[in-house]
């Protein structure tokens, strides 16, 4: 095996162990909860016989490991179980909700990058100028702002105050993209901006500090000595070698976005994974909680693995598995 293949294999093995642990913890969680699923399904007035019957039907009378093995076997064949409450298939519910959350996450990543790349370049190129100093203050305020607060400010200004303005945005509701793309984007606007605001300070700061280092590199100086206009020096020569940290942070931020999406979806009434999770928790619908948590973890882990691949595209030096010239 070449070192590159071995490195990828080791990483995959690590991921599998991590996912196995997550799923084990998710099952254990259900064992530890004081909530009895039979009571959830039947209501408080259920007789002991009925309860026992449900326990048998759900396989709850079997030992823990047997239930875990059974559940994992189900996962591998795409069977995440059925909801205690609505009796719908858990995977179907998750996939339907994923369409909404996925759109929010992708759009807010794009918006965040579109805003923070120019800001990062500007603040790195004109470091210590007034804009750079101002941005330090603005971004530390943004970082400290919980998403539900910024969402409420946005709703207050762009949905409520703007009621009589020619343009205003809906405070709640959702239209599927397939039904009406324009209306879909209209409803997605405020939630996406809320989520993007969480990312922009971090993104721009990371890009700025990498760019500042790169701009002092000899190859940037040499590019200037070639007589290239500053625009080209920044965009073509400096940006790409400075974007590794940004890509890392963008990858990690998918987890942050999943968390932010929970709040935003509840606040704006969007039928996404977060809304699904919160409803399932409120209703003690444990298979749905378990399935959603494991699913989110899997997506998150996969996203982080994808980030590793991005490095190789961005920096050809990393394509050689070893013997990288410093």
């Amino acid at each position: 095996m070449s070192p590159a293949v071995r490195a990828v294999a080791a990483r995959l093995a690590h991921l599998l162990v991590v996912l196995a642990l997550v799923s084990l913890a998710a099952t254990l969680m259900l064992d530890l909860t004081p909530v009895d699923p039979a009571i959830v399904m039947l209501g408080e007035q259920a007789t002991p016989e009925q309860v026992a019957q449900v326990h048998a039907a759900l396989g709850l009378d079997r030992p823990f490991l047997a239930r875990y093995a059974n559940w994992v076997a189900g996962l591998l064949t795409g069977d995440f179980g059925t909801s205690y409450r609505t009796k719908v298939d858990v995977l179907d519910a998750i996939l339907a909700a994923l369409a909404v959350t996925g759109e929010l996450i992708v759009l807010s990543l794009l918006v965040a990058l579109a805003v923070s790349i120019p800001i990062g370049i500007l603040t790195a190129h004109h470091r210590d100028d007034w804009f750079d100093r101002l941005w330090v203050v603005v971004s530390s305020a943004l970082v400290s702002c919980p998403p539900f607060v910024s969402a409420l400010v946005l709703v207050f200004v762009f949905a409520l105050l703007a009621r009589d303005w020619p343009v205003h945005f809906p405070a709640t509701g959702w239209t599927a993209f397939t039904a009406d793309p324009l209306d879909n984007l209209w409803h997605a606007a405020l939630p996406v901006v809320t989520l993007a605001l969480v990312l922009v300070p971090n993104f721009s700061r990371v890009l700025r500090s990498d760019l500042v280092a790169t701009l002092d590199d000899d190859f940037v100086l040499f590019a200037k000595a070639k007589g290239l206009p500053m625009r080209r020096v920044l965009l073509r020569h400096a940006l790409r070698p400075s974007s590794l940290s940004l890509v890392t942070v963008a990858g990690i931020s998918i987890g942050q976005l999943m968390g932010g999406a929970v709040v935003v979806e509840v606040l704006f009434g969007l039928p996404g994974l977060g809304q699904l999770l919160v409803n399932a928790i409120t209703l003690n619908d444990l298979p749905l909680v378990q399935g959603a948590v494991v699913f989110i973890a899997a997506v998150y882990v996969a996203a982080n693995a994808a980030v590793d691949l991005c490095y190789r595209v961005l920096d050809p030096r990393l394509r050689v598995a070893h013997g990288v010239v410093a």
Binding site: H14, V17, V18, L19, L21, V22, A25, A26, M29, L30, L32, T33, P34, V35, R127, D128, D132, R133, V136, S140, A141, V143, S144, C145, P146, P147, F148, V149, L152, V153, V155, F156, L160, D216, I254, G255, Q256, M258, G259, G260, V262, V263, V266, L277, V278, A280, I281, T282, N284, L286, V289, A292, V293, I296, A297, Y300, V301
Partner: protein
């Protein structure tokens, strides 16, 4: 070369004067919040669930002498709910972070010093916890536990421990290679003695600034959970809960939302500023050695 010497002179982003002003403001605000939280029961405040006589519900701040911050959606005192909310928030945060610091330090220092199997196992467990987005993990823990402050504190401790463990491990690896540690080992000190005498105090000091930054994070998370209605059950006051209560009145009585929002924002910013300052102070101390 000349050019390098001259160019690498560090430029401060913010002048020292402005920075220390911000630090003093942050210290002042944190002191106010912590004092209010600690002294809440002995302060001359109305009970949190008493509806104030003679005042309208949703009274705007600064429009009454008896209730300077106005009243909430059903006419309770905003000020006393804010103060008891601070008590709730600070208590949960302190408990969670203390627990996370203790667990994270022990795990991280052991993993970093013993290495081998301990490192492998803790590494995988830490990765597994980090594989779940923090707020989702928090929700999952809230789902199985009883609604209340205890569950939130436990959840936050679980969420914060892995990152502390990672930091502690990295610092331990660095410190264990230092001459004084290798020296005491060659003088026959036992592993436990080295860990307790040489490593733990130094690693703890280096991680301390991080506790402030985590406090900021914990306040946001606790507020988010309460905002989602999955935190402490009503009528116990909490900052996130107050914002959630005020939401229906956002259009006409926005202060119901924005007074607690501003409180959260100020507190989070202050803890972040303190953590950053503490960290750069430690860096300077390290650099001047």
């Amino acid at each position: 070369m000349t050019i390098e010497v001259a160019v690498t002179a560090p430029d401060e982003v913010t002048p020292a004067g402005k920075r220390s002003f911000a630090v003093w403001l942050a210290i002042a605000w944190v002191a106010v919040v912590v004092l209010a939280a600690v002294c809440a029961p002995i302060l001359p405040l109305r009970p949190v669930d008493e509806i104030v006589d003679g005042l309208d519900p949703r009274l705007a701040p600064f429009s009454s002498w008896t209730e300077p911050l106005g009243t909430d959606s059903i006419g309770r005192s905003t000020l006393s709910r804010l103060v008891f909310g601070a008590r709730q928030s600070m208590l949960v945060g302190t408990v969670a972070i203390t627990a996370a610091l203790v667990c994270g330090l022990v795990i991280g220092v052991c993993a970093g010093y013993v290495r081998r199997a301990v490192d492998r196992v803790t590494g995988v467990v830490v990765d597994a916890v980090l594989a779940i987005p923090p707020l989702v993990l928090l929700l999952a823990i809230a789902a199985v536990g009883r609604r209340g402050a205890g569950t939130i504190a436990l959840g936050l401790a679980v969420v914060c421990t892995p990152s502390i463990a990672r930091l502690a491990r990295a610092q331990t690896l660095q410190l264990a290679a230092r001459p004084h540690v290798t020296a005491s080992r060659s003088l026959g000190a036992t592993g436990l003695r080295i860990v307790v005498r040489d490593l733990l105090p130094e690693v703890a000091l280096r991680i301390a600034p991080y506790a402030f930054l985590l406090m900021a994070y914990v306040i946001i998370s606790e507020a988010s959970l309460n905002f989602l209605g999955l935190g402490v059950p009503p009528p116990t006051p909490s900052w996130g809960g107050m914002i959630n209560d005020g939401r229906p009145y956002l259009a006409d009585e926005p202060w119901l939302v924005f007074v607690p929002s501003l409180t959260i924002l100020l507190t989070v910013v202050s803890f972040t500023v303190l953590g950053d300052r503490f960290r750069s102070w430690l860096d300077e101390r390290e650099g001047s050695r």
